[in-house]
């Protein structure tokens, strides 16, 4: 007798799943649509308009916050990816050595501490340092962001290293490639997708951060997230929706980027 359903069928799961996807996308879709609303109401459609994009683009605070966000994300993503690559190369594919667990725990430490705890701890320390040294530049933010981005950059790089075939580098060595050339022409190209994934993950993590930045920054160091958080107490204008629309576009583009690179360079 033929079965009515495949063995994997569970009644109602499909409905829940589809509802979940609607739940995940509906709020973002509404925000996206209302970014183009000519009126100010979050529920009444007042016609199509780009006025909120214009007002965001003309808002000096939004511009400088955007620039700072991107600058900070770029610097800390480059720094953390570089550090993470070096550490991953030294720690993966080698027999376990003394201090491995200690180094690994240190690198993944920022993942285990609630953000708010790191934030207040950094607040205390940076406030003291500002008092001592008089320096109140971007350095504190760069250091804080780089530190919490290191594990995010490290994990994809390590994952890639673990799936890489070590015999290829051995073969390069057997064919008299110098260690540096073997690294440059064999290891590096194979590792690149991992490094790119680590970089993007670190970049997005930095761009996304609001709590740690909020506590470490001084006056005039608003990033886009802290600027928006500061707007909470005032009436929300659809300007925030316009910024959200741009952010959404960036994140979709980055996810696609990782997806395409992974598809193209799958290690069989």
């Amino acid at each position: 007798m033929a079965k009515a359903f495949p063995v994997t069928h569970q009644r109602g799961f499909g409905t829940v799943a589809i509802t979940t996807f609607i739940f995940l996308y509906a709020p973002l879709a509404v925000a996206l649509v209302f970014a183009f609303n000519a009126g100010t109401s979050p529920a009444k459609w007042g016609g199509f308009s780009l006025r909120w994009f214009q007002s965001a683009a003309n808002n000096q605070q939004v511009i400088s916050a955007s620039i700072l966000s991107l600058k900070l994300a770029a610097i800390s993503a480059i720094l953390s990816t570089t550090l993470a690559t070096l550490a991953a190369l030294a720690m993966s594919r080698t027999p376990r050595f003394r201090g491995w667990t200690l180094a690994y725990s240190a690198i993944s430490f920022p993942l285990m501490v609630p953000e708010i705890v790191t934030a207040v701890a950094l607040l205390v320390v940076t406030a003291t340092f500002r008092g001592w040294t008089g320096y109140s530049g971007l350095g504190y933010l760069v250091l804080a962001h780089t530190a919490f981005c290191v594990p995010f950059a490290y994990l994809p790089i390590r994952a890639r290293l673990q799936t890489m075939d070590i015999s290829l580098e051995r073969a390069a060595g057997d064919l008299y490639a110098s260690p540096w050339n073997a690294f440059r022409f064999v290891t590096m190209p194979l590792l690149f997708p991992g490094i790119l994934a680590g970089f993007i993950l670190a970049f997005v993590t930095s761009l996304d951060d609001v709590v740690i930045t909020e506590f470490v920054k001084t006056a005039g160091q608003d990033t886009l997230p802290t600027y928006m958080l500061g707007q909470v107490r005032r009436t929300i204008t659809p300007e925030v929706n316009a910024i959200a629309a741009v952010f959404l576009l960036i994140s979709v583009a980055l996810v696609m980027c990782i997806y395409v690179v992974n598809q193209r360079t799958k290690i069989n």
Binding site: K3, V7, T8, Q10, R11, G12, F13, G14, V16, A17, T20, F21, L24, L28, V30, F34, S41, A43, L79, L83, A87, A90, S92, R93, T94, F97, G99, W100, T101, A103, A106, P110, M112, V113, P114, I116, V117, T118, V120, A121, L122, L123, V124, V125, T146, A147, F148, P151, D208, V211, M228, L229, V232, I236, A244, F247, S251, V252, V255, Y259
Partner: protein, 303 residues
């Protein structure tokens, strides 16, 4: 010869640590050392305008759970602090349970598609996750405010005549947390479901097990590591949340993250804030221990 080996391995070890130390150093300066400062501060007394006085005291720790009576120095359980701790625990547990109830069927749905479609569904889960947390919370806020689209639609269709107050309630916080952290549940649960041996389900079905019993006896027990991993991944950021209660809970429904912030801001009680931070960390550590003992160890092997 042995000495040559020793020299070589010594230099390899030096190179290794040269490569590792920059990353470790940055994390030490940017995360570990500040936390140690907080540990120290939790045993000091508050300074008059913020900061600390360097006198040893366990008072901050006592006050996490107790109130000290001003007159006779007796300790009673602290109403305010317990309420905030309890609310944080309950809200984050509710969030975790809701994420599981919604996330498990979704992960199962994805895992039972054909392999090509799976990738697309997974991509659909990751896109919101990569979108700025603040923006996703704003989106929820816009949706559920009194003049928001849900209330407007309900009034227009005649279901209600007055808007339902959803924003600035515990419900709003919970909804926001579920919305933001749901992908963290779906992804690990999916990973453990995807690895399952389909022939077990066929065997059960051949032996006349009903779908619900297959789910209860086979699928869920085998997915347990993923379920635990997902629950921990949702619970930890949920209990430490700072932004969601501000945006969705208004000023009244504080969680522990906001209470900690208050102590370092207007409260001007750094030692108490430090002790609260470490209490929060202790809760997180307990959750992590559960994960290490029962969670998904696959993909976390060393090397």
């Amino acid at each position: 010869m042995a000495s040559l080996e020793a020299v070589r391995s010594k230099s390899a070890s030096r190179t290794r640590w040269l490569l590792i130390s920059p990353a470790v150093l940055v994390v030490i300066i940017g995360a570990i050392a500040p936390l140690l400062v907080i540990v120290t501060y939790s045993f000091l007394t508050p300074g008059p305008t913020g900061g600390v006085n360097y006198t040893l005291s366990f008072d901050a720790w006592t006050r996490v759970l107790f109130d000290r009576d001003v007159f006779d120095d007796t300790l009673t359980l602290s109403g305010t602090n317990l309420e905030i701790l309890l609310r944080s625990l309950l809200l984050s547990l509710a969030t975790t349970v809701l994420c599981l109830l919604v996330g498990f069927p979704t992960a199962y749905f994805i895992a039972t598609r054909n392999p090509l479609n799976r990738e697309v569904w997974l991509l659909l889960v990751t896109v919101p996750f990569w979108t700025n947390l603040l923006i996703r919370t704003f989106a929820i806020q816009d949706l559920i405010r009194n003049e928001g689209i849900i209330n407007t639609l309900l009034i227009k269709t005649g279901f209600i005549s007055e808007p339902i107050q959803m924003l600035f309630t515990n419900f709003a916080i919970c909804l926001g947390l579920v919305y933001v952290y749901l992908p963290l549940m779906i992804l690990p649960v999916y990973a453990s479901l995807e690895r399952q041996d389909r022939s077990l389900l066929e065997a059960a079905s051949d032996l006349y097990a009903r779908p619900f019993n297959v789910l209860r006896e086979i699928i869920v027990p085998l997915a347990k590591p993923g379920i635990i991993a997902g629950s921990i991944l949702v619970f930890i950021p949920a209990i430490g949340t700072y932004v969601t209660p501000i945006l969705l809970g208004g000023g009244r429904n504080l969680m522990i993250g906001n209470y900690i912030e208050f102590q370092f801001g207007q409260g001007r009680d750094w030692p108490f804030g430090s002790a609260l931070s470490l209490a929060l960390m202790a809760i997180v550590m307990v959750a992590l221990l559960v994960y290490i003992r029962h969670g998904d160890s696959h993909g976390h092997e060393h090397g």
